[in-house]
Symmetry: C2
Subunit: 464 residues, 2 copies
């Protein structure tokens, strides 16, 4: 199908598509909160039933450690290539609730944007693709074999889902793994994401006095865990924003000149970051451009820090303990286990005198992944994005992590392709998440063009 045929089919079914998207967003499928396990299952069953109506053979992959993962398969023409499409129906918690302008699970249109938790990440993005598959199937224009995995544990660490999918490895075999969980360019240009960073997390607590102490009686004599945790965190970076953990850069694989040029060429509007986020992009290593920092450099961030009194006014205590939650983003070449060990060793070596360090909640989110700018799959995706007729597509190296995507390509024997239409303004993981109708249409049109083209040129020997 060409662009105008896809667009016409979209317009014809517009109300149904949007109503179903709204229905999908009404499930409070928060995977980190056990109280929402039932909502996650209901969401999975709703998706399964939808895919059955589309003509897919479906199954819920189940394990005691996960919410159900929806698996669906529709055989294509003999000899046609196989696409495995990945998405996740679970969402981040919605707190702080009082900052939402409309309730997070009562989707609300304001202008051409739909506001709800998950509006973009990932329900909006994957539902645009499902709408495209429906169009292709109704038009009898789908030649490829299509497999779908939409899982329910992406927002709470990838390991259980990886273990679940590993058990069904044979069912997942494919030529191309497509995921739509990434961003377009800052200027609105469609984008192929060429890399995602790896991730690990940990929680570090410094224990001091057995109980809170009077800051007058003991100030300047007792070790202070809150002062200590600050000094420990400050030891992680040097004055130039470089990570000061010994060995942390040893295995960093540098991008080649082409990758670096491509990344900087499409860095987008330099003011866009501050306009979207309210702060200039002055974090991290001053020796690299902002886009190089998230593309090719590891990062260690404080996700939370807390200890002592946090109410109004003052309470003059030395707290008995203080805690920091850290996440580290990794780039190609860095092994998550080795880097976690390096960080723990650093923390242990920098414990201020008189305090005791406890490390907890270690979690590995997987290594980084990178795509090859010269691959045929990437070239075909670029062609589909170009055919959409808007700004020329760009190559992006994103800083985020999708742990399952670091594992799934190898598991399925497939080449990864990451094309998403998200934007910073969507505020994923934050209050008032939203997704624009133009972005949703992007997911739809790209999937229609790219998947619709699969199998057309089998005689050329390529997968697309």
């Amino acid at each position: 199908m060409n662009l105008s045929a896809l667009q016409s089919a979209f317009d014809a079914r517009l109300e149904t598509i949007l109503a179903d998207w709204v229905r999908l967003l009404q499930f409070p499928s928060i995977s980190v909160e056990p109280a929402h396990a039932g909502d996650c299952r209901a969401c999975a069953e709703w998706l399964r039933d939808r895919l059955i109506r589309l003509g897919f053979a479906t199954e819920l992959f189940e394990s005691s450690a996960t919410n159900p993962a929806v698996f669906a398969e529709r055989r294509g023409e003999p000899g046609a290539p196989t696409l495995l499409f990945y998405g996740h129906y679970d969402v981040q918690p919605a707190d702080p609730l009082d900052q939402w302008l409309s309730p997070p699970f009562e989707p609300q249109w304001r202008g051409d944007r739909l506001y709800a938790r998950g509006a973009q990440d990932n329900k909006g993005q994957f539902f645009g693709v499902l709408a495209a598959l429906e169009t292709l199937i109704q038009a009898q224009a789908l030649r490829a074999t299509v497999k779908i995995v939409i899982e329910g544990n992406e927002e709470c660490g990838g390991t259980p889902t990886i273990e679940l999918l590993e058990r069904h490895r044979d069912r997942l075999r494919a030529d191309i793994l497509l995921a739509c969980d990434t961003n377009r360019g800052d200027n609105g240009a469609p984008a192929i994401t060429m890399g995602l960073r790896g991730l690990f997390v940990l929680t570090a607590t410094l224990h001091g006095p057995a109980h809170d102490l009077h800051s007058g009686v003991h100030g300047g004599r007792s070790p202070n865990p809150a002062t200590g945790i600050a000094r420990l965190v400050a030891s992680l970076h040097d004055a130039d924003g470089r990570i000061a953990v010994a060995g942390f850069y040893d295995d960093v694989r540098a991008p080649d000149a082409n990758e670096r040029a491509l990344a900087n060429a499409y860095a987008g509007d330099p003011d866009a970051f501050e306009r979207e986020n309210g702060a200039p992009p002055l974090g991290g290593e001053s020796a690299f451009t902002p886009c190089e920092r998230t593309a090719f450099r590891p990062a260690i961030d404080v996700n939370g820090i807390f200890g002592g009194y946090h109410g109004d006014g003052s309470k003059t205590i030395i707290p008995s303990e203080a805690t920091v939650k850290l996440s580290a983003r990794l780039v190609p070449g860095q092994d998550p286990e080795r880097m976690m060990d390096a960080l723990v060793k650093h923390l242990e070596a920098h414990v201020p005198a008189g305090l005791r360090l406890e490390i907890a909640e270690r979690g590995i989110g997987g290594p980084a992944i990178k795509l090859d700018p010269n691959s045929r799959v990437v070239e075909q995706a670029r062609a589909a994005l170009t055919a959409m007729g808007g700004p020329a597509p760009v190559f992006l190296w994103e800083g985020a992590s999708v742990p399952i995507l670091a594992t799934l390509p190898a598991m399925a024997g497939a080449e990864a392709l990451l094309v998403g239409f998200g934007a910073d303004a969507d505020r994923i993981h934050a209050p008032n998440e939203s997704y624009g109708l133009d972005q949703f249409l992007g997911n739809y049109l790209f999937a229609g063009l790219f998947i619709g083209a699969m199998g057309k040129r089998l005689r050329d020997g390529g997968a697309c």
Copy 2:
């Protein structure tokens, strides 16, 4: 009266004295919680009625900004010196309530210790003195004029009480101001407190992105307010624990050799700190002994630090802001306003790139005070403590602040004398506050001996 006469009188009235102490502790006179204003007034009225029965002329000093302060006066022999005794009937909040082994306002004896909020601070300490005054009066052994101020706002900042007492300045004139709100030596020796530190507090917040950001998408590019607040706090001290704020030591008045020797001579058991508090005394400046650090050196402590996610597991965000609550303890010579300005200037100069600093909740608790080891009043107090027959009295320089005591001596034209019988084990300001009967008896016997001796040697020309 001599020691044995005082002890006999105590034994004879033991049950009444203890029952009245328990009654006093049943008032939940928490001054920072407006809901307890009625309890504060009831406590003040109970104290006033008790002092009337003892033969004092009484008055409640009132203002719209304070709980009532109990004022009482009993004229002594013509020409006898005047003692002004200061105490406070208000107490700290009792939370966290679930950590109390018995309810905070239902006093419970366990062995020879009485457990309740305020058991020591300050109800236990001042009530021992009132019991001694009763003994002296009943024995017709009180020659001095005695004035009493027991106020109800010490635990929520001194300014309103200072303003209240200023209005009654003429009534407060005295030769000696005695307060019993301090500690004895670690080894149980009675102690004269030779100094208290000054205090100011502030709250500093670093603002970054307008909303929480995804730590993957933006990690290494966005400024991180939680990392930033840690670096800001870490900038406050050098590696040797010395305060790194420019000018902070400029006005510090060094102790003389005698004071330094006295402080170190009575530093107490070096293991006592760790035994009582569960951590070694390794905070602060390594160039000074632990007791010198709280005696003669200023300190800046983190009372609370918070920003970002503080629940279980991980939430991979860059928080939009992070906050630290700081308290500074000051020593003789340091002006609180000037030091506050120096700290604010330091914070402003060290804001990490891309973040915005907001300073709030500035509060001045007053300057430090110090006593003169060579004064006749201190000598007479030492004589009274020696006459108690236990371990030899010690000189202590305490690190805590009693803002009203920094002002009241000048207001009353009186020389300050600070003799208390508290101990770290009493856990003032914390759950399960308690006070030992031996400590309470210390307050009683010292007050009986010291106040009983006042006016005896008028012909010697001294105040005592």
